[in-house]
């Protein structure tokens, strides 16, 4: 469910990925049999392509990874967590169209990072 523009994160590689990320990082917490996750996936793919080089997108399967979702108090999925310079800037939930998803992500990022 991830393309070459989207990283696959796990409990093991999350910290290192976050620390090494030179751009803002958006994590899509999802699960295989979550309908809204399936609905929003094409929007995530399109944004990852559109914002390539500006924002790094990643996915984490919450059925296979427990620690990171717990650390960031994920409940309903899909949940999107926006990080900038290694820090969590914001978190939001739900299946939404590409434009709304982009707007929500940008809401948590300074203009210089957009």
């Amino acid at each position: 469910m991830a393309s070459d523009k989207i990283l696959v994160l796990t409990d093991s590689n999350f910290k290192e990925t976050l620390e090494k990320s030179s751009t803002p990082l958006v994590i899509d917490f999802w699960a295989e049999w979550c309908g809204p996750c399936k609905m929003v996936a094409p929007s995530v793919e399109e944004l990852a392509e559109e914002l390539k080089g500006k924002i790094q997108f990643a996915k984490m399967d919450v059925d296979s990874n427990q620690q990171v979702p717990m650390q960031f108090a994920v409940r309903s999925i899909p949940t999107f967590a926006v990080f900038n310079k290694g820090n969590l800037c914001g978190k939001f939930t739900g299946a939404m169209a590409k434009d709304q998803l982009k707007k929500e992500i940008f809401r948590y990022l300074p203009e210089s990072a957009q």
Binding site: W33, C34, P69, S76, G94, A95
Partner: protein, 142 residues
């Protein structure tokens, strides 16, 4: 999650069809959305003995399954006719948000979505929400 058994899949498909009728809702117009959720519910039925909602993260699924709040149809559906999994929705694919508290995430994502069949569903509208599993704070919904 494991691929569910044919028996559980059929059981969940029957449940969804009947609950759609009971609540005056329909499944999502995109069949793959419905199919995913039904597979998730059936897989949980096999694994946990209960159709736990597959659209949440649970630190401990077995413990969560001891509470009824996220067993389909979940507390939010029974109280507010809101299904964040998009399994029980209006014909246009939107989940009903009319009865949600104003600060609920469903209202923030979808805005005000009215109920076309207000005479159906919301069987727990007057009941308090289920208690969370033992050991977990009473944080309520999300």
């Amino acid at each position: 999650m494991k691929e569910p058994s044919p028996k559980s899949l059929e059981r969940m498909r029957t449940f969804v069809r009947k609950y759609n009728e009971k609540t005056g809702t329909t499944t999502h117009p995109k069949a793959e959305v419905t199919d995913s959720v039904v597979h998730g519910l059936a897989s949980h039925l096999d694994e946990l003995g209960k159709p736990l909602c597959p659209c949440n993260f649970y630190p401990d699924k077995k413990t969560e399954a001891t509470s009824r709040r996220w067993i389909c149809a979940c507390d939010e559906m029974k109280r507010w006719k809101y299904c964040h999994c998009l399994l029980f929705v209006r014909a246009d694919g939107l989940p009903i948000t009319e009865y949600l508290p104003a600060d609920h995430e469903g209202r923030q994502i979808y805005g005000l979505v009215t109920d076309p069949t207000p005479d159906k569903g919301r069987e727990s509208r007057d009941l308090p929400p289920s208690s969370p599993p033992e050991g977990e704070g009473a944080e309520g919904g999300h």
